[in-house]
């Protein structure tokens, strides 16, 4: 508890100020949300009307009519889900191997993996793209999914988590004649659900929002992810006539993520603070 803020009036003033700041912070988003319900023609003339009529759902209907957006949404969902599943499986297996198993070269291998935490995607995306092109993986779902599976963050997280599980449980399983793999699947894995949730949310979000890799690996519009697709519509729209439509697109792209955030806030925050 922070005794800095015990005094009455200062406290209230501070919180009021923060509320105003938060409102101002959200203002651009709220503005876009409000205007997405206005017809395009109206917005060509003026954009200073918030809550007053006219209202319309036309912009959203137009989105639903645009097949490309759904294609993009589908790509994002597929890629994010598969990558998340892959990361969870690989990171759990490797995390257990590093945390609880002894084998020749374990320490070196772990250091080798941790080194990757320092390497940013921006330093390898060029040769990786070159590699993937020569393998014919450009513009494929596999091409979008695979690189994310090599990120060491998940392994690091799961290793730390598994290390904290009491050794006694595994010793009991050992005495119960459970093989190492069986111990992992039947005893350890079910106990790691919180960490799995955290890693899963974090990975899903990172994949959904990724821009750089989909930019280079998916050059055909029907392979775009939502993030990339949305960017492709952001051309010179200062003169654009479809302002409302653009705003509706923004809302449409942001809604799933926002829902995810509202439900899984706890896990997201713990993922961030565990770095």
């Amino acid at each position: 508890m922070n005794p800095l803020l015990r005094r009455g009036w200062f406290d209230r003033l501070l919180m009021a100020g923060l509320c105003l700041l938060a409102l101002a912070w959200m203002l651009p988003l709220l503005w876009v949300l409000a205007l997405s319900f206005k017809p395009n023609e109206f917005l060509m003339a003026r954009t200073d009307v918030f809550l007053a009529p006219p209202y319309t759902l036309d912009n959203y209907l137009d989105i639903l009519g645009t097949s490309a957006v759904f294609r993009w949404l589908g790509n994002s969902a597929l890629v994010a889900l598969l990558q998340t599943a892959g990361v969870l499986v690989l990171s759990s297996l490797a995390g257990y191997g590093f945390a609880r198993c002894e084998f020749p070269g374990r320490r070196w291998l772990f250091a080798f993996v941790l080194f990757g935490l320092a390497v940013p995607a921006q330093s390898v995306f060029i040769p990786l793209h070159h590699q993937f092109t020569s393998w014919g993986l450009q513009n494929t779902h596999a091409g979008l999914i695979l690189p994310g599976l090599a990120a060491p963050f998940g392994v690091y997280l799961m290793t730390q988590y598994f290390k904290a599980i009491p050794l006694e449980l595994e010793e009991a399983a050992l005495l119960d004649n459970a093989s190492r793999l069986k111990t992992f699947v039947r005893v350890i894995l079910p106990l790691s659900l919180p960490a799995q949730a955290t890693l899963g949310i974090f990975t899903f979000l990172a994949c959904w929002n990724d821009y750089l890799w989909p930019l280079v690996i998916a050059t055909q519009p029907d392979m775009y992810t939502l993030t990339r697709g949305l960017a492709s519509t952001q051309t010179n729209f200062a003169q654009s006539e479809g302002l409302g439509f653009l705003m509706a697109q923004a809302v449409f792209a942001g809604a799933p993520v926002l829902l995810l955030y509202l439900f899984f806030q706890k896990h997201l925050v713990s993922a961030v603070s565990s770095r």
């Binding site: 508890m1 922070n2 005794p3 800095l4 015990r6 005094r7 923060l18 509320c19 938060a22 959200m26 651009p28 503005w31 876009v32 954009t47 200073d48 990171s91 297996l93 490797a94 191997g97 590093f98 002894e102 084998f103 020749p104 070269g105 080798f112 993996v113 990757g116 390497v119 921006q122 330093s123 390898v124 060029i126 040769p127 990786l128 070159h130 599976l149 090599a150 060491p152 050794l167 992992f184 959904w208 929002n209 821009y211 750089l212 930019l215 280079v216 993030t227 949305l230 960017a231 729209f237 653009l246 923004a250 792209a253 993520v257 926002l258 806030q265 997201l268 961030v272 603070s273 770095r275």
Partner: protein
């Protein structure tokens, strides 16, 4: 090495880590090494010919005025955004480190923007900054202030994108500071209260010194992350106006996909990597100190 019990060493156990390590080696380490290798070549993607040139690419980078400007831009971006990140997120964390629904809602609000993708954020802000019809110009006009060409002025563009970046991901360093604050033992504050310390004194003599390491760490983390800045600049200003915002990663991207000279692009990537490794080493060094020095 024990042959019995949990500490028994068996090569078969390596199978647990093998799937990941194989992918890791193939998709992270191999491209890394390949990148270094290619950077010593002149590799033209159009003709797909490559021949050894040694350090020529690096020498060329050194003399390249555009690259220098690009590095300069990135440094300026980091220099602008990092202090703002640290001070703002620290202030928010200090103010919101309290129980209660309101604080919870406020924390959630400030964190909220960071879950959105960069394209969403840039779209929203490009709309908000639209000359004439955008939210901000209208607000400025309503207040009687002149409209500022925030994205189109050479001197203002980088600053604008930096501020938008802060708006976007202030949530992450805020959370880091919050967890650091929660690790300060309550007894310290109680002792200070018994010592009649004023609120300001407590802040400067108790709280901030306890946060010293966290501040350095957050600054370093943001520094490292912002050095890799790319999408928001690409989408908001495309490196302009007049090269005043183009960051290193955009340079790399353009060299590879527009100039099609792979060797030059990978050489620039190695420069970026070198800068990153320095930053991360500093981060590890500080964090190790933290573990050793804990009372």
């Amino acid at each position: 090495m024990s042959a019995v019990g949990l500490r028994a060493s068996r090569p078969a156990y390596a199978l647990f880590v093998l799937p990941f390590v194989a992918l890791y080696a193939a998709l992270l380490i191999w491209p890394l090494l390949k990148g270094v290798f290619i950077s010593f070549h002149d590799h033209d993607l159009l003709s797909n010919e490559s021949f050894w040139v040694g350090l020529a690419n690096y020498a060329e980078l050194w003399d390249d005025e555009v690259f220098r400007q690009v590095v300069g831009n990135t440094i300026r971006f980091v220099a602008i955004s990092t202090p703002i990140f640290v001070i703002l997120s620290l202030s928010l964390a200090l103010a919101l480190n309290r129980p209660g629904k309101l604080a919870f809602l406020l924390r959630a609000t400030f964190f909220c923007a960071s879950v959105f993708s960069v394209t969403l954020v840039t779209l929203v802000w490009k709309l908000a900054l639209m000359p004439g019809r955008g939210l901000l110009p209208q607000l400025l006009t309503a207040l009687g202030l002149p409209e500022l060409p925030l994205l189109t002025d050479e001197n203002l563009a980088l600053l604008t994108v930096a501020l938008i970046t802060v708006w976007w991901i202030i949530g992450l360093p805020m959370i880091l500071f919050l967890s650091a604050l929660q690790q300060i033992p309550a007894e310290l504050y109680e002792a200070a209260a018994l010592d009649n310390a004023s609120r300001w004194r407590t802040l400067t003599r108790v709280t901030l010194p306890s946060l010293k390491r966290a501040i350095v760490l957050v600054a370093l983390i943001e520094l490292i992350r912002q050095f890799q800045v790319f999408p928001q600049i690409l989408l908001m200003t495309n490196g302009g106006p007049n090269n005043s915002t183009r960051p290193i990663v955009q340079f790399i991207y353009e060299q590879a996909f527009m100039q099609l000279s792979l060797g030059y692009a990978t050489a620039a990537s190695q420069v970026l990597l070198a800068i990153m490794l320095v930053g991360v080493s500093a981060q590890i060094w500080i964090e190790r100190d933290k573990k050793g020095g804990r009372a």
